[in-house]
Symmetry: C2
Subunit: 153 residues, 2 copies
């Protein structure tokens, strides 16, 4: 059971990078290299985020992508929805056709409850929160002199 797919993972990390460099354009190439993501794949992810007004782009030399929304208003929940579709337990479950199978109904009811819990959690996590944790962690590392984890191969 994999909670985040590559697309969502790349999206979040790209946003974190854009969030850290707010105000300037960062190219897909730069993000791909620094975050070790497949270039073309990442581009698709970035374009999807443009369509959802999370970021803006500038073409040509010195172009790239820039954060559009307030990091605190970009929720991981939304990213999951964009790249993985709504969190759902199993298919069907249309209101109209009350499911023909009792045990399936009982199961669904229980799972939908858990679904709510998960959604709630992902709703709480924003790019802003992650950004703050990121910089906080880096401060701790700098203070302790432990730098390896900050390096990029």
């Amino acid at each position: 059971m994999k909670v985040l797919t590559k697309k969502t993972d790349y999206a979040i990390r790209a946003l974190l990078m854009l969030g850290a460099k707010r105000g300037s354009y960062v190219s897909a190439r730069t993000i791909a290299v620094e975050q070790d993501m497949p270039y073309q794949f990442l581009r698709g992810v970035l374009q999807e985020m443009i369509r959802h007004d999370l970021i803006v782009s500038k073409e040509g030399v010195q172009g790239g992508f820039m954060l559009e929304k307030d990091p605190d208003e970009i929720r991981v929940k939304q990213l999951i929805e964009i790249f993985q579709g709504t969190v759902q337990v199993s298919e069907c479950m249309f209101r109209k056709q009350i499911c023909a199978n009792r045990s399936r109904c009982v199961l669904r009811h229980e799972i939908m409850r858990i679904e709510q819990v998960v959604n709630n959690e992902f709703e709480q996590v924003t790019i802003g929160k992650l950004l703050r944790k990121l910089t906080l962690a880096d401060h701790v590392m700098l203070a302790s002199g432990n730098m390896e984890a900050t390096e990029n191969k």
Copy 2:
């Protein structure tokens, strides 16, 4: 994002059926027909559950499957683990290699926390609990005269 795969879904519903008919053997054919599941596929699921000592089987005519464990001790969490592998956010995350990428680390940390929440929820749901909800729901339905949902096509 799909929480339960068909295998897990079938497994749970098969167990509910075995739980409702404890003490007697129920054949894969019967379960498949009554619960509307693909016969051969279900058989694979049942065999997997035998390997994990959740159920026992008897070969030959009048044979079938029977619940082995106490329904209250069969947790949906375990079924998910058997049929979908441990709940994990993304691959890797081995303790030894501290991840080379800071933003990935921060993300992981947050996701692992949510993972805990989800695991906890699934840990609470047992076949026993579902069985009780099932029979309770049926009583309510019988009382209100609403029978359609109990019928099988």
